[in-house]
Symmetry: C2
Subunit: 254 residues, 2 copies
Amino acid sequence: MKIKMSNVAQRSVGIVGFGAFGKLIAQNLYGHFDLKAYDPRSDQRDVAAELGVTFTSLQAVARCDVIVIAAPVSSFEDVLTSIATVCHPGTLVIDVGSVKVHPSDLMEKYLPDYVDIVATHPLFGPQSACDGIEGLKIAVCPIRGLQHWPLAAFFRKHLGLQVIMTTPHDHDREAATVQGLTHLIAKVLHRMGPMPSRMTTRSFDLLVEAVSMVQNDAPEVFDAIENANPYSAGIRRKFFDLAHELGVELENNA
Amino acid sequence: MKIKMSNVAQRSVGIVGFGAFGKLIAQNLYGHFDLKAYDPRSDQRDVAAELGVTFTSLQAVARCDVIVIAAPVSSFEDVLTSIATVCHPGTLVIDVGSVKVHPSDLMEKYLPDYVDIVATHPLFGPQSACDGIEGLKIAVCPIRGLQHWPLAAFFRKHLGLQVIMTTPHDHDREAATVQGLTHLIAKVLHRMGPMPSRMTTRSFDLLVEAVSMVQNDAPEVFDAIENANPYSAGIRRKFFDLAHELGVELENNA
């Protein structure tokens, strides 16, 4: 089963979920594939047209050569059961969520054996990708079939991404620190109220920039990172315990 | 009492404490003033000579037109009592520490009435100033006399600094968040152990960069920021309480 991802003019890519991330995918795949998209919110039709994407039914999207699931976590299982009965043999199904263990299990469970699966996590969002995605990172977990090879080559050659080949468990273990801590600190700082902007140091400016990049993420993203990643609770407890310990130390020294 | 800081060729500046920050001051004032420095560690004599600074006694430094105290917090009172008996009328004494309320009180208490006092906080350190200090920020608190005017003009015109005129209390209130939080988060992350460097997001990279800028600061700096700033304990408690609250919320949702 050799799929030439570089010879893709005729290949169709169907995007399920046309939110901020679905649009980002469309912008970056435009010109490489025949693009279709489905979203339950029909008001996305005009935006899709502007981006050169055919807005259509979930059934039509599920018959594409490649299906990219960019739907909210809450609808993930419904999307899988819907496309499972429609997609044809050799189809490549890709997800793009922030956690990988649980969605990979679901894709293996619901999608028929004749469908190839690659779990991915683009380590960027609409905000960090505002100047383009070249040089940014994407984690790629091969789940079923061999299409991860041409897919990774496409990401490197045509999109200029840094590809990190990994497994769902290795991914989630590392992401629990990388994303778990960033979102946790961002949430706490957000609750502290407006941050000073006048008498700031370079390191504080960087800290504020870091957290502001994730503070506008959808609540589902925070929820997925903190609750759907099996390693997050451990990292979180460690952070809170060490913070508490430091607090006690400082009170005793005061 | 008009002091022309721009006409400074003959003016002498004495630096008390020739650690990393004392050296940074010397590098940036070189060519503007006749520079002298004192440090109890006599092995700093050669480094001083290389930077065009006369390494001398505390008494000689205390007879300069401007005295900059860049000594560790622990020796601050000793330095003040030593220079108080030597410095001549019209001398300008400046400190450069990370907190301002307590040191300002001490300077007012120990230094004779005929000495002018300006409390400053350069909002940068040797690491953030490695590419030069132009454009960086300095907080300036007038404490006694009028020499803060020519001093601020010198900072702006000759060093290219952004001058923030403030009071010790306003400074410490804002710094408790700016520096208190940065150092607190840096300390907790440091205790968590080595951070991932492979599968990182842009926001996590910024977070790591932010904390790494302060993780090499001297322990006295952390101590001053967390314990000598009267507003730090409140900010810290707020941070720890909100972190704990979020932790409980996430446990309940899990």
